[in-house]
Assembly symmetry: C2
Homo-oligomer: 287 residues x 2
Amino acid sequence: MDLFHALTDEERSRSRLDAKITALVLDDVDFVTGSTINELAERAGVSPPTITRFCRRLGCASFADFKVQLARMTYVGLRYLKPEMPTTTVSEVIDDIVAKAQDTLFSLHNQLDHDRLEDAARLLRGAGFIQAVGAGGNSSMIANEIQNRLFRLGCHVQSTNDKAMAVMLAAAATPDTVAIVSSMTGRDVELVRCLDLYRHHNVPTIALTQSGSPVSERASVVIPIDLPEGVNIYRPTSTRYAYLAVIDILANLVAYADRQKSLQYLRRIKEELVSNRDGDDRQLLGD
Amino acid sequence: MDLFHALTDEERSRSRLDAKITALVLDDVDFVTGSTINELAERAGVSPPTITRFCRRLGCASFADFKVQLARMTYVGLRYLKPEMPTTTVSEVIDDIVAKAQDTLFSLHNQLDHDRLEDAARLLRGAGFIQAVGAGGNSSMIANEIQNRLFRLGCHVQSTNDKAMAVMLAAAATPDTVAIVSSMTGRDVELVRCLDLYRHHNVPTIALTQSGSPVSERASVVIPIDLPEGVNIYRPTSTRYAYLAVIDILANLVAYADRQKSLQYLRRIKEELVSNRDGDDRQLLGD
DNA sequence: CATAATTATGTAATTAATTTTCCTTATCGG
DNA sequence: CCGATAAGGAAAATTAATTACATAATTATG
């Protein structure tokens, strides 16, 4: 993925033709990945050796290597080579949403802290009762998903989108309670108060939030999620996909900690659903 | 980009060597993308022309084309090349969840019907009132997200996770009402009844569901979402990511239909949130 | 079960693509 | 303006990939 940065790096001393090739590559990645060195050279108005040298300067072993690296980069990054491309037609919107979602998942993948996830999963699977707190549209969804994912594994969970409720929950917490909170900004003043209260009642807390934020500073275990938002105000925040993935990862880790138990609950739920439908048990759980 | 499916397709009649090459490719994508045809042929124990023919059978124009397509596919499909790989460690779970989510988004991208999305968006932006129905964990989330995305654009939406409620809503529908429903299986008996009722009251309906299902047969506009579920019962269904993306696309299309109006509502919401927080207005909307 | 038809595979020849070598032409700092 | 240095191109050399053709394996059919 360094190729992308090398290509967009203004610092890299660029001769006239180098800049020309760079522009061509960024402008039409698909052409470049599909072309021979001669085709590319012709279209760029340079000689083939210049292309080879260009690739070497970018850190690739050869033109073939360059093409492969470029292809590897494109799928996720494709749209992001031209970030300010306007989106209006249906296919542009589809590309935009899907690419940004994939890009977000990719960035998440690179930044996830394995140890913190392990810590969080350990807390969750040891909990007698789990309180999931998240408010305000996006984090509400996440809190609800925590409940939706974990109750299927036999966990006792209560989710709330109401911070006043969270305060009461914290006050009523038994010693085996664990709280898990979500805040995309990490700056929710009331949630910060909730976390202080949880700490006061010795309830361990897991926070899915921006690192360095007030919320992150108060949680027992922080799963930092720091993702750049695009400039497009119209586009729903793709950060939700990352949060959702973290929930899935945590739920999966909890499930694997005791496969027998998880399976038992998942099967029971499935049987109930199937008998309530048309008996087709190949369908997935929990529509 | 069917290459992934072509590679994993058991149907494709495989000769002994074909299977051998397939296995090698799936086993070490990185080696293959970086190797010459001779290196690959030697390692597979076949002759170079066999490799060329193998690539052609998979639908690629040449070995170079095959490498590029493979490289393009790798990140997303990486894990899915070895679907039965056990997931136990934290990094395996992370890879599994993230790759499956990306793969799901990718498949969705390939199957989305642009015209149906356009139709659905047109219905939504012309609606005086939108009713979003979805029940049972996953579809509940989707219905709620429809509300969450659309109210920000100035739409009047009510979401419900209660099918009895949906029946009443349908009965009380004004002539400018549009209903949008979600069902991952498309076999929810009560939802089918709801759709019949909506039809009876002349309320146009949009369904996000499996094609060919009872639900899909009763909706005015169907956005078919047909995705293979993995065999892993422990893993939360990745189909949710696809449904979420469809919501985002629809919301985006609605927003672009009247940018001025959308912007006005989005700004108002943002201002309110910022003044309720710490005044940092670079933060995203609707935590 | 034999045999024809078909398909798969390898070898060698051919073609295409890429890189290297060597030479020319810009560019930059005195 | 001159010399040094870097950039670029032409052509040769090399390497990679494909095609043509021959052979082996497999499958279908009587």
